[in-house]
Amino acid sequence: MKGTMRPFAILGVFVGLAVLATAAFFSYRSGANAPEPTTIDVWSATDRSAMWAILEEFEAAHPDISIRYTEYNTSELHAAVLEADEMPDVIISSAMDLQVELVNRGYASPVADVPATPEWARWREELFGFTQEPVALLYNREAFADRDLPTTRSELAGMMRDEPSFFDGRVGTYDVSLSGVGYMFATQDAQRGFQASRLVESMGRARARTYCCTADMVDELANGGLVLAYNAIGSYALERVRADPRLGILLLSDYALVFTRSAFVTRASDAKAASGEFIRYLLSPEGQDLIETRSSLFPLLTEEDGGQSFFESRFEGSTSLLPIRLRPSLLTWLDESKKQKFLRDWRASMTGRTGGY
């Protein structure tokens, strides 16, 4: 009995030593990469291509932080967050109203020491805008070669009413029932005054076509299917306009809406420090510089005059910028009955069922 036990005992000693050695080796290895690697889960309603440079540079500057980037469209993102079992760490979206709605629900956690930004573009030290992007009028240069461009909304409405043959079926805008930002632009227009409803009526009379996205409108403009597109996202469009001589981009002089992409750290996040670092990076000089030079987006922090000359050097026309404020007043238009009513009226206008013959 004793004789058979001995070899096993010796084997046991060897196995024990091997285990110890392996453990020592691995603990030595993990001791070498001192900071524990952190992964930030980012859910974003922004093209990965627009954010790529920032994500890459941020990871390069913070070797201990890696980013898992998941792309959504704005309303998908909102729904996903409301239903999420496991919340992401950072939420980025261009739908300011939906972002405000989430923060108002108490989903966000404050971030300290974020660089100073205009007050309209931040709320509660929780929600931070990091771009400013104007809403623009796109047009086909060929179609307007011997025509005057409209300078105001009432002029545009007048032109469409006066020349139905030219505009008929060749005006594009967002389908507000499909696109979250399109809805936001339309409601902000409606809130600015009566010109907006007149313009929608005119577009309805001109049998305007509606789109889900700015890119589709740009495509149609380029191939001559549209002569102009109202309320397109200037930043996305500008890239195409610069590459395509057939396209023009214009800011109407009565006002130009400016929206901001915003980000917040979720309250449920377990990587708040790293996520906060990411938010600070977005608004740091390096981050803003990357947005200006290596993405199609526009930085929030430009020269002293709040972006006026920044936009005037890139767009035709001169205008007064009207930033949409990151405030709970945006909640008004998310109200279900309000939204149904607005969509009903808008559709009625677009299909010419009101005010028509």
């Binding site: 108490g106 709970p328 109200d335 009955s337 309000k338």
Partner: protein, 483 residues
Amino acid sequence: MSDTRLSGLAASARLQAHRPYSLRRRLMVASMAAFAIIIALLSVSLWTYARSSANQTYDLLLRGAAIAVLERVTVTADGIDIDLPPSAMEILALDEDDRIFYRVMDARGATLTGMADLPTSDGFFTEPPPVAEPVFFDRAYSGEMVRFVVTGRTMLSADTPQWIGVQIGQTRIARTAMQHDLVLKGLVPLAALAIAGILLARAGIGLAMRPLAKIERDISERQPSELRPLDAQPPREIESLITAINGFMRRLDTSRGQAESFIADVAHQIRTSLAALYGHLETADRRGGASAMAVGRALDQARRTTRLTNQLLSHAMVIHRADKDMFEDVDLGEIVTRLVEEIVRDERAGNIDFEVDLPTGNGAARVKGDPIAIREALRNLVDNAIRHGPSDNHITLRVARTTLDGHPAFSIGVDDTGPGIPDAEKPKVLERFYTKGPAGGSGIGLAIVASVAESHKGRLSLSDRQPKGLSINITIPENPTVR
């Protein structure tokens, strides 16, 4: 090193403890405490005031927003139409950081639009119809305290009137900020008031203390002999103190007068005695034959003068010692024994029988007292007994336990078999310089004994013995300070 520091601390603490308290400091501390209490009370009321006024201010906004929403609720043929006005939310978004919650509901509390999970105050919807006046309340919601308003109005529709309510909530950030701001702005003048009050109290206390300083100056500037009453006009609070000081001065003046008359008496006595001695010596010098008798008289006179001087000094000493606190543990038995031994050794006693009667147990007769004064008193009593008694006198020294006014005490008695003192003279013998009988003492002895008895808060009594003799008793309480 720490030890020395510690002991230094202890010493300073002891010093502190022994320092007289300061009236000024007491008054200051009391007035500051009063101010602190007043400020605390005012702060509490300031806090509640600030809270209610912040609530009132922002409740107006809430109510305004609610009215704006209600105004856009209409009853149409298709049902209730709610067109949420942007202005309602914008009113509430005026304060930068507060979150906003709202819903529109019907009379049963069912949400028509907005956030369905908003809490209402208990029993709000149980009493139909819900109130028309706005109801404000605080509730925790979505992780924060939220101020809510619920208000509504009755809509007239085609069939039945219908109540439509609006509930709007706003987190308390702006309210709290305003409340803190108000409290801070209120506390600044309060603090200024407190500081001014304390400074005024300080000045007032200084003013009130001024008569004391004046009295102090009056006393310190006086000549030592100046004992006339203080002429200060004292405030009511220290009037009795001044009266007491003046009374003390009067007594001091009296006792100084007594001391002066004692000295005058002493001077007169010694002068008279010396004059007699001088006369005897002159006679002895002039006459040849009768000189022996004159010298004898002169010798006698000189002895009397010496004795007189000794007794005067003894008396002065006893009185002087009585002024000071020289009491210690005294064993009466030991004093008595020593005294008798001394007298017997001096052979002054001759054929006189001495008897000592002590309470049983060695050292049993202990009192708090001045041993020298007690000894001096006993010696005088024994001397008197020897002087005035017959040569075969029998003197008993007796120490016995007794009580005095209910306190434990000891009586020391000296009994003799001499002629005694007639009752009529008994009070007189205690006066200074009253002498009696052929042996004619200085007249100081019993006065010394009386002084000692008095300084020990004791009592002196004289009584006759049967068939003859005198018994003198000093009763001394065990602890004179108790009385």
